[in-house]
Structure formats: structure tokens, C-alpha cells
């Protein structure tokens, strides 16, 4: 049962990827939606198993490592899998209307989306460095291809830039994997952690891996590819990229730093990562403040919000670990909601230039409401998932008397409030432009509801900390930094 559920998580979307290519347009969406709905069903028995018995390990096809593949499921991975499944359902519902059958986009989206899902699920289950590489490549290629759906020149170029940097990053990562394997003869993260001796080789490998993953996660100053890619991709794709795809490489970064290199004493490097996070928060927020287009504001907001996760490294403590996990989850929900709402706005008005978005409260009240709810979570206002994440981060900073990080988180929240309220103010209260006779059409109800559901979930995450935290606490990294 457990083994079937685990394999189902990866092989249902993977199988559908192949099947769907053979199907006519009209059947593609419904089949994929069915596959997405099967994911939570797979997760339910797994959740129960992890809850009662702790981590699950599965040796695929009974080939022992290092040649064979091992999957491992712990609380953190489970939360990320749930995030994926929960975001996938509304996004797929949205895609049914935004990528209608009969158009090229409706043909291309579904197989790519299934491949991406298979890659994401497989990555969260992977326990060895090379598997992580393979799944990450799968995700990158599918993600890049999805940006290009629709064939807009701007999107294609952004996709190419993302691809080139992504491939470069993968090579850096692969090189590090080679070095580590050369020294330890192992690929399993835990095993590598035991065998790898800190030294020049290990340090080189860690730097290469970290750099590669920072590029993939678009952490300042390696974020250059993200805003254009996320800001120009088709609506649901932006939601997938910002909600899920960037989380994947950050998740890897956390795994590698806390599991593989968990007991190395690297305070200076950890501070450096934290400073990059600070740069991301400040730069991303200020850039978001001056963007003329809604989707670009949201994209830069992603740059900023990912920075909070980086504070885990300097603040290394159980509170910070909880906060970072919670931030991954809450941001995933809220940002996906935001991008779906923005997609509806863009489609309805034909533009997402902020100056043209007047009277949204009359034209698209529910979409605006969804956007605002998601904004509440992003700003870290209570009650919301984002608030709990920031609260725990502040608590972590307070406990370690790290006043600098504490001030940073507060200032970051204020900046996010500034750029998000700017959007809301411009779209509702625009002097002299009220009732501008722009034409607009109401988006499909299902598309609006998809955004709303995600936004409500982002708020609901502010009330469901107990089960989530016990999962997070059940998956604490090894090593001595945890008080």
C-alpha cells in the first residue's frame, strides 16, 4: 500500500505524460485533472504512515544503492508533496479554461505539466544527490518549455535565459556531485554526510552546489532570470513556477546544508547566505515597488520572499527551521493564488499595466479579493500562513539576539506592504480615472474560484500549525546545531 502510494506519486503523472501525448486535445485536460486529483489520494495513506511510524524508505525495484534508487519520505518532504498536490488542483482547474483545447497552448501545456509534476514529486522523494540532479533537470526543462507556451517573443527569450542559466547551474551541481562521489564513493545524502571529511575538496563541492542551487532558486544576485520568466509566462505557468518550481531548489539547498553538511562549522558561509537573503528581501521589494506591470510586481515579490528562507542558515535553530518550512508552504499557496488572480485580471482587461487597472473592485471583485487575501499572507499580516512564518522567524532572531535579522524581517514586511498596497490602491482608488471606459470581460467562474481557493488556503495555513509543526519537528536535520 505504502509502496504503491509512493510510486503512484511519481508514476501516475509520468504515465499520463506519455498517454496524454496520444490523446486528442479535448481529452487531455480532463485526464490530467484526474491524475492531479489522484495525488492527494496517494498522499493520505503516506501521511498516516509518516504520522504513526516516522520516515518511510523505499528501495526501487530492489536494486540496492549506489546503483539502485532509494526514496525517502519524511515530514518535510511530505509537507512539500502536499503543497504540490494542493497547488496543482486549482492550477489545473484554471488551466482548463486558460489553455482551452483546440489551441496550440491547450495541446502543449498538459504533457509538460504532468512531466513537471512527476519531476517535482520525484525530487521531494529522492534521497541521493544524483537523483536530485536528474529530477531537477526534468523540472527545469519542463518549466522552461512551459514558459514558452503561447510563443510570445518576450516569454521565449525569458525562457531561453532561464534555460541557459539553469543548465550552467546544473553543470556546477553535477560537477560537485562528481567530486563528492569521487571522495566518498556514496551518493545517498545521509551516507555522504557521514563520510565526507571537511576539507578543500568538500568545500569546493559545497560552493559549487550552493552556487548552482542559488541560481536555480533565483536568490539575489542570481535572480536576474526570474522576473522576466515568471512575469511573462502564461498565467497558470507563472503560478506553478513561483509557487512550486523555485521551492524545489531551495528545498535541495536546505537538504544539502542541513543534512549533508549539517555538522560542519560554517558560520561565515551561513552568514553569507543570510546576507544574500537580506539582499533578496531588500532588492526584490524595492524593485517590486517600481514595476509598472502587475505580474512583474508579483515576480519581484517572489525574489524578495525567497530571501526569508535563506535566513534559516545564519539563524540555524529549530524555530528558524520551522519558519523556513512554513514560509515555503505559505508562500507557495499565496503566490500561486496571486498569479492566478493576476492571470484573470490580465485576461479580462487585456493588460496588466497597473495604470490601466482601474475600478477592479467593481469589475473583478472576487479576483481582487483573492489577490488581497494572498497579499495579506505575503505581507505577513495576521492571521495567515505568512504571518506564522514571519512570527517564528522573528522569534528565532530574538532568541539568538540577532537584532540585525530581526530588523531585517520587520523592514521586509513593511516593504512588502508598501508594494502590495500600492497595487491595491492603484487598482481601486485611482483619482481622475474612475470609470475609465476600458472594456473588460468577466473571467470564467472556475478560474476565479481557483485563485480564491488558493488564497483562502494561504489564510487557513495560519490556523493549522499544529499538525504541520509536528511533521516539521519530526523531520529535524541531524547534526549538532539544533538546541
Amino acid at each position: 500500500m505504502i509502496a504503491e502510494a509512493l510510486t503512484g506519486l511519481v508514476f501516475i503523472p509520468l504515465g499520463v505524460t506519455l498517454v496524454v501525448l496520444l490523446l486528442p486535445d479535448r481529452a487531455r485536460g480532463p485526464l490530467c485533472l484526474a491524475a492531479v486529483l489522484a495525488l492527494p489520494l496517494c498522499l493520505l495513506p503516506l501521511t498516516e504512515a509518516v504520522w504513526t511510524n516516522g520516515d518511510i524508505t523505499l528501495v526501487l525495484a530492489e536494486f540496492a544503492p549506489p546503483l539502485g534508487i532509494v526514496w525517502r519520505l519524511d515530514g518535510l518532504a511530505l509537507i512539500m508533496l502536499w503543497l504540490t498536490a494542493i497547488v496543482a488542483v486549482p492550477v489545473s482547474i484554471h488551466a482548463l479554461t486558460s489553455f482551452p483545447p483546440g489551441q496550440a497552448s491547450g495541446r502543449e501545456f498538459w504533457p509538460l505539466w504532468m512531466m513537471l509534476l512527476a519531476g517535482i514529486n520525484a525530487l521531494f522523494l529522492s534521497a541521493d544527490l544524483f537523483n536530485l540532479y536528474v529530477t531537477l533537470e526534468m523540472i527545469t526543462l519542463a518549466g522552461v518549455a512551459m514558459i514558452g507556451i503561447g510563443g510570445k517573443a518576450l516569454a521565449l527569450k525569458a525562457a531561453m535565459r532561464y534555460l541557459l542559466l539553469g543548465l550552467l547551474a546544473s553543470l556546477l551541481y553535477l560537477l560537485a556531485v562528481g567530486l563528492i562521489y569521487g571522495q566518498t564513493g556514496a551518493l545517498d545524502i545521509d551516507l555522504v554526510g557521514e563520510r565526507l571529511q571537511p576539507g578543500r575538496m568538500a568545500a569546493t563541492a559545497l560552493v559549487l552546489m550552493t552556487t548552482g542551487l542559488l541560481v536555480k532558486s533565483a536568490i539575489f544576485p542570481m535572480h536576474v532570470w526570474l522576473p522576466a520568466a515568471h512575469g511573462n509566462a502564461p498565467g497558470p505557468v507563472s503560478a506553478i513556477l513561483s509557487g512550486l518550481v523555485v521551492k524545489v531548489s531551495l528545498y535541495m539547498l536546505i537538504r544539502i546544508w542541513l543534512w549533508m553538511a549539517g555538522d560542519w562549522e560554517l558560520p561565515a558561509a551561513a552568514t553569507a547566505l543570510g546576507l544574500l537573503g537580506a539582499g533578496a528581501i531588500l532588492y526584490g521589494s524595492i524593485a517590486a515597488l517600481i514595476q509598472p506591470r502587475l505580474k512583474m510586481v508579483i515576480a519581484y515579490s517572489t525574489v524578495a520572499q525567497l530571501g526569508y528562507v535563506m535566513l534559516l542558515f545564519p539563524l540555524a535553530s529549530i524555530e528558524a527551521y520551522r519558519a523556513a518550512s512554513y514560509q515555503l508552504l505559505a508562500h507557495g499557496l499565496a503566490k500561486a493564488a496571486m498569479f492566478l488572480a493576476a492571470a484573470n485580471i490580465l485576461k479580462s482587461l487585456g493588460t496588466d499595466r497597473l495604470i490601466a487597472l482601474t475600478d477592479l473592485d467593481r469589475k473583478l471583485p472576487v479576483d481582487l479579493f483573492a489577490f488581497t487575501l494572498a497579499a495579506v499572507s505575503i505581507m505577513g499580516l495576521p492571521p495567515s500562513g505568512g504571518f506564522l512564518a514571519k512570527w517564528m522567524l522573528l522569534e528565532a532572531a530574538w532568541r539568538q539576539e540577532a537584532w540585525g535579522w530581526l530588523v531585517l524581517v520587520s523592514v521586509g514586511s513593511l516593504l512588502s506592504a508598501a508594494y502590495l498596497f500600492r497595487v491595491i490602491a492603484l487598482t481601486c482608488f485611482h483619482p481622475g480615472r474612475r470609470h475609465a471606459s476600458t472594456r473588460w470581460q468577466t473571467p470564467p467562474r472556475s478560474a476565479t474560484n481557483a485563485a480564491l481557493i488558493l488564497a483562502l488556503l494561504a489564510i487557513a495555513a495560519g490556523f493549522t500549525s499544529a499538525p504541520l509543526l509536528s511533521l516539521i519537528d519530526g523531520s529535524l536535520p541531524p547534526g549538532g546545531i539544533w538546541p
Partner: protein, 102 residues
């Protein structure tokens, strides 16, 4: 001794690849540069694994083979993307000059 030679050569090749990726304007050249880089990574992986070349390490070879497959797939995909860009803009490049946030 040969190991060091290999590593030095591979590093040189890697450097050439990075240089090409940064300098080249034409997307095809950028892709070639990436492929050059991946070759150097494979060389290094081959060299550092095993025990000094006496007996080959099957795991390393499996990893490299997988890596090559992925590199081929990525290259094929990138070429397709390049052609789409060429069709959409008339130029096989992604220079910054002509994109703004429209």
C-alpha cells in the same frame, strides 16, 4: 600525474565553455559552449572516481551516461527553443537591447 593533467585540461575546457557562454551572441554558440562545459564536467567525474584508472567504477560510468543523455535532451530542447525565438523575433539571440516590460 595523468590525473592532474586530466583535471587541468578539464578545467581549461570548462573555462573555455564559460567564456563562450558569456561572450557569444548567437544562441547556437552559447549552446555549444554549454556542451563543451558538460564534456569537461564528465571528464572530471571520470577522473576523480575509481582508483587511479586501474579499474573503472561502474557507478561513475552510469552517472556520466545519464548525464550525457540529459545533456543531449537539453541541447535538443534548447535548439527547438532557439528556432522558436528566431521565428518570433527574426534573430537567433536574446540581447537585452530590445526587451522591455511591455
Amino acid at each position: 600525474m595523468t590525473e592532474v593533467m586530466f583535471v587541468l585540461a578539464a578545467s581549461l575546457v570548462f573555462g573555455i565553455g564559460v567564456w563562450g557562454l558569456l561572450i557569444a551572441e548567437h544562441l547556437l554558440r552559447k549552446l555549444l559552449a554549454l556542451n563543451v562545459m558538460s564534456s569537461s564536467v564528465f571528464i572530471i567525474m571520470l577522473v576523480v572516481s575509481g582508483d587511479g584508472g586501474t579499474s573503472p567504477d561502474p557507478v561513475a560510468q552510469a552517472l556520466i551516461l545519464t548525464g550525457i543523455v540529459i545533456a543531449v535532451a537539453a541541447t535538443a530542447f534548447a535548439l527547438a527553443l532557439m528556432i522558436s525565438i528566431y521565428r518570433a523575433t527574426g534573430r537567433p539571440s536574446i540581447s537585452e537591447s530590445d526587451d522591455d516590460d511591455r
